[in-house]
């Protein structure tokens, strides 16, 4: 997923102003993938949300010293979200590869049971992780993550 361009950034402008403008665009990108990503079948939306979250995390990390006190909490929240989405993505990639190998061997092949068990484990783990993600997102919304980011990062450290 290509990052949305932040227009009009000025190399001579104060760092905090320009980083705040980048954060505003990246937050908008992250929230743009919901509610689609709440559907476990929306693999692309989940993947794109992971990438958008990573971009938001990095700009927050770069600006941690110049943003307001909420930046540290926001970095932790985005890292936790990114880790969860990363694990879901890993399960998607691994289960597809393992499933393909399980389907390529005969049922009476000695490798079949292990490959089938591994694929089933990955698929089950993915379902659990997605439920955790939906709960995590709901918690972010309840705690006003977006609103706090937009309001408190505007107050320089």
């Amino acid at each position: 997923m290509k990052a949305r361009r932040v227009k009009g950034l000025d190399p001579a402008a104060p760092l905090a102003d320009e980083l705040q403008r980048i954060v505003a665009v990246r937050v908008d990108e992250v929230f743009g993938f919901m509610p689609q990503a709440a559907d476990p079948g929306q693999v692309t939306a989940l993947h794109d949300l992971r990438i958008a979250t990573k971009r938001l995390r990095y700009v927050l990390e770069i600006g941690e010293g110049v943003f307001g006190p909420y930046a540290g909490t926001a970095i932790k929240r985005t890292k936790d979200l990114q880790d969860l989405l990363g694990e879901i993505h890993d399960c998607d990639v691994m289960s597809e590869r393992v499933r393909a190998r399980a389907e390529a061997v005969a049922v009476d092949d000695e490798r079949y049971v292990g490959l089938e068990a591994l694929a089933t484990f990955m698929e089950a783990r993915r379902r659990v992780l997605h439920r955790q993600f939906v709960h995590f997102w709901s918690d972010l919304e309840q705690k006003g993550f977006r609103e706090r980011l937009e309001e408190e990062l505007a107050a320089p450290a």
Partner: protein, 162 residues
Amino acid sequence: MAKAREIPGLRADLPYAAAAAATIRVRTQELFDHAEGVLDTSDIERVHDMRVATRRLRAALEIYGPCFEPRLYKGVLSEVKALADALGARRDPDVQLEGLEALAGTMGEAVKPGLEAFGAVLRGDQLAGNTTLAAALEHAGAHDLRGRLDALADGADNRMAA
């Protein structure tokens, strides 16, 4: 994972381009400090540390993009992305193998042939990833990635001086 080094003099009122120059210098140093021994498959943490350093440098390049000379920037960013991809190609199977070995320890004998078969696939990925990484490191050295990153930082500083 190593904590990111602090950027000296980074303040809210610092010009965006001056912050770009300072950040790229520190993140470049971090990257090359972690380059030693990354092709050693017996110590998987070296690859991890260099991958994290590459991610931080790439993020800084993207966030400070408008502060750099466009042509030089485009080539450097593309090379840092290629290095990050190569590090990922080595790191991903490292992690997957660790996970598979941990899982194998919790499962019965009947599943072992299948898990071992998939482990062999991942070890093949690991070797291929090492070849990809060796080529990316050689390319970065041959094309003076470090010198071009320094030139990018100098260019951002010069924009402020002009």
